[in-house]
Amino acid sequence: MLTALLTLLSHYRRHPGQLALLLLGLWVAGALWSGVQAINASARDSYARAEALFTTGLDRLERRDGKPLARADFVSLRRQGLAVSPLLEGTLVTALGERLTVIGIDPLTLPGDSAFATAGSPSASHPGELTAFFTPPWQTRLAPDTTPRLGLERQAAPGAEPALADGQRLPPLVLSPALPPDTLVVDIAVAARLLERGTTLSRLVTAAGELESAPAGYRLTRADTRVDPGELTASFHLNLTAMALLALIVGLFIVQAALGLALEQRLGLLRTLRALGVPGRTLVALLALELALLGLIGALAGIASGAWLASALLPDVAATLQSLYGAAVGVQLRLPWHYWLGGLGVTLGGLFVAGSGILWRAARLGVLGLGQAQAWRAGFQRQLRGQAIAGSLAALLALAVWTWLAAQPAGEGLVAGFVMIATMMLACALWLSPLLAAGLSGLGRLARPHPLTQWALADLQLQLPRLSLAMMALLIALSANLGVGSMVGGFRLTFLDWLDQRLTADLYLRPPVGQFDSVQEWLAARDEIAELLPTADGESTLLEVQDAAGRRTLQVPVSLFGITPGERLTPTWPLLETRAGREAAWTALEAGEAFINEQLALGQGIAPGERLVLRSPGGQERVTVAAIYPDYGNPRGEVLLATAALRERFAAAPGSLGIVLADTGTPGSRRAEALSRALDERFALGRDALRDQREVKALSTEIFERTFAITRALNALTLAVAALALLASLLAQARERRRRLAPLWALGVTRARLAGIQLAQLGGVSLLTGLAAVPLGIAITVCLVAVINVAAFGWRLPLHVFPAEIGLTLATAIGVALLAAGLPALTLWRTPPRTLLAEEEAT
């Protein structure tokens, strides 16, 4: 049956544009999907390596007095018989100006089951190598994907001794694939020399659970109170995956449109082949084979481009994850084998889903019906009915999921939320064609007195079978764009307001822990300072929640944060819910009660008035919740107390100092400069220790913008794919359209007018699609802010609808349509009239 297959494929030789569109659809769909999967795979790999490193699985000891740890602490604890191990951590600048984390360890005391001992190092199998690690010339262990940061090729790295910015050289490099990216692991003696730290230590660690309680004078932080990066970033990756899935679906719309057209144009060929004795089943099998061949080419190209796209986007994603979650992600792609196979599977699977309808219809057509395009299109009416029914079923499913979600506690049902959005979009996409068909038919009746308008509407109805898929793709892309755009816009507005409310001091300073109190005292005595807002932070575990109904025992790690209520902070600090009013809440905070963030309230179902039992150095502390406050961007639950109370009851370390300047008539910047100079002279804090409020806000805003850069990029790409789908549909039927327009030209309608009609037809139908996308987009925004966001991040956003965003959506719909219709219209306008008629005669 090779002859029949080659005959079928020969169609594309005569219509290379159609083949290009088909491959383009597959390529774009595959590229976006696998690009995001590549980013996710690389990030997961980085998390897994970071998680496997000793820094996350071990308990930590810090000095209770806030002073830095020193070698003497290690010696003293070891003499007490405690199995602690020293760590020295810092940042080195390479000769290329790249910043890398360096961790100095003592391999002999480091707990034996840590990742470094078991996976990161070959020491377990070769004991000699362990000796090489901590004896001259020492070793620098690093992951292979870190070598480019040192300006070295992977092959050239082992044994190399690259120079640092300060002229020092690293010990010979040894590759350890299990280490996280951008991290160098050296012996602690080497780290002390490279970082010029003398005898200070960053941390003392012990095996998890090794110590029952903290030794006197030290604070113990359990490994299980730290959240691993993979857990924190899961929702970020889920959002990315959802966007990529959307792009894949829109891409597959192009594929289905191109496939449908390629088959429709080959109906005659199919009939001829059947007449020449090729069995129907064989033809369907051959079409499936054709699909597989094209799919393989398109998918492989898509996956390869996806890897390229991912490597281009990864640095931005890595920066976002670092700033949002503190999760280090390598900027070099590390793709496991299943990435390639998975990408191929999803793209080919999607292709067969898109193509199965076409194959099914081709298989069902009788041999005598094959040659008649009418037989093919008669199926469209049935298809419209089917779509309306399927759309109703999808809407019912969305309603069922919504009912289920409404019965769940807040913060539950992330996947169900996505299912609800997907079914809503599917329902609207399926309803679109029947609604457009009904609308056009109604308008056609109204336009009876205007023959040309009536013709244009009737003609549009004839085009609908071919345009409907592209319009569905456009609807999905537009509504997703509007939904996500409104969500991001609303989030931005809320976030900026929230920053304004929280960052109330003019200047911020983070003095070293040891100097904090003396700096505070010195600042308080100065005339130019109106108010000081010291903060403190710590860690604890929420052990119990007591309410009127009884008590619930928990084990939830929480952050503790201390603020200083005062004239500047109290009026602006946002509160979502209070026990007895805003004023009473602040009085309660000053009296020792607590506020909790929305994440903790929603996650654990805690309301104002309930009492929390928190682990403290002295055993347990009980606080009453006076209010709940919004805390955007924080992945963890947080308990807020007055700074003084927090430091006293939880031995929390001091954090930053907010400085409110007195109004002396001198410009703020000059006062800040003078203060900075005075601070540096008195405490040697460095000229840049004092940070302007605007600087902090700008940094936060930048982090915010970067977080949504990827979402916006994917969204725009999805819209571009939808525009491509529309262009594909129009270009594919351009020639046939010209034939249909020829008689009108012969009847005296100018080509310019015909081209104008074409533009108006498509612009109009796209505007209708855009109008349909508006309520769907708003519904998507509601789902995103009320369900997805709460489940993914733990906070709820107020719903914002932006008329400008809606206007932009409608303008985009028309713009995309005019852009897509422009080329065929221009071709028509340029075609000599005689050619139009010759094309008509040739049919």
Binding site: T3, T7, S10, R14, G268, L276, G277, V278, P279, G280
Partner: protein, 227 residues
């Protein structure tokens, strides 16, 4: 070669079933040529479709080369068309994406019976030798129909079914194509069933049959079958 026994065929219409063929009996011997005439809608094309196994009778039996069409499955009927029949259509139905040469060889290759000497002879006799690299749309109507005839005869079928083969051609081209068709049919020894409107086209054939509202009317022998 072809036998219809009390064949009835009706189509569903909004006004109720429309009987197109009503108890048709017909026999066509090997090497014999038969013209089937009738008004539009008289059932000529339906009869041809039944003979080609493109459709099945409601009642009665259609046998081609001794095989009952109704007893064959879809694959069997496809095989019959591929190996035993040749079809020529009024609209040519050439494959636009294949060159003249590839179109001509298509059915022979599908049947696994390509004979390059015969292909070359056909190209020459059909006057297409210099046009082998062209595509159907680059040919005149007469050339396209000659190509369609060549495609049908390339596997040397036992029965050629032609549906208005000259219906789309001007008079000069029609005569030329018909002459060529009959000469090739004679030389290959295949039987021919041709649907036509034109008595002039029907005249050179062995027999002519009139179909009126689904009933076969009188027929006349025009000449003795050529073995």
């Amino acid at each position: 070669m072809l036998e219809f026994r009390q064949v009835t065929k009706a189509y569903a219409t909004p006004q109720g079933p429309l009987e197109v063929l009503a108890g048709v009996d017909l026999t066509l011997a090997a090497g014999e040529s038969l013209a089937l005439m009738g008004e539009s809608g008289s059932g000529k094309s339906t009869l041809l479709h039944l003979a080609a196994g493109l459709d099945l009778p409601d009642r009665g039996q259609v046998r081609v080369a001794g095989l009952a069409i109704s007893s064959l499955g879809e694959a069997g009927r496809a095989r019959l068309r591929r190996e035993t029949l040749g079809l020529v259509f009024q609209q040519f139905h050439l494959v636009p994406s294949l060159s003249v040469r590839d179109n001509l060889r298509l059915q022979a290759r599908l049947a696994g019976r390509e004979d390059s000497a015969w292909t070359a002879e056909l190209l020459e006799r059909l006057g297409l030798t210099g046009l082998t690299k062209r595509y159907p749309e680059q040919l005149s109507g007469g050339q396209q129909q000659r190509l369609a005839i060549g495609r049908a005869l390339a596997p040397r079928p036992a029965l050629l079914l032609a549906d208005e083969p000259t219906g789309n051609l001007d008079e000069g081209s029609a005569d030329e194509v018909l002459e060529l068709l009959l000469a090739l049919v004679r030389d290959t020894g295949c039987a021919l069933l041709m649907v036509t409107h034109s008595p002039r086209v029907a005249a050179p054939l062995d027999r002519c049959l009139h179909l009126t509202h689904g009933h076969l009317g009188q027929f006349r022998a025009t000449r003795t079958p050529t073995p």
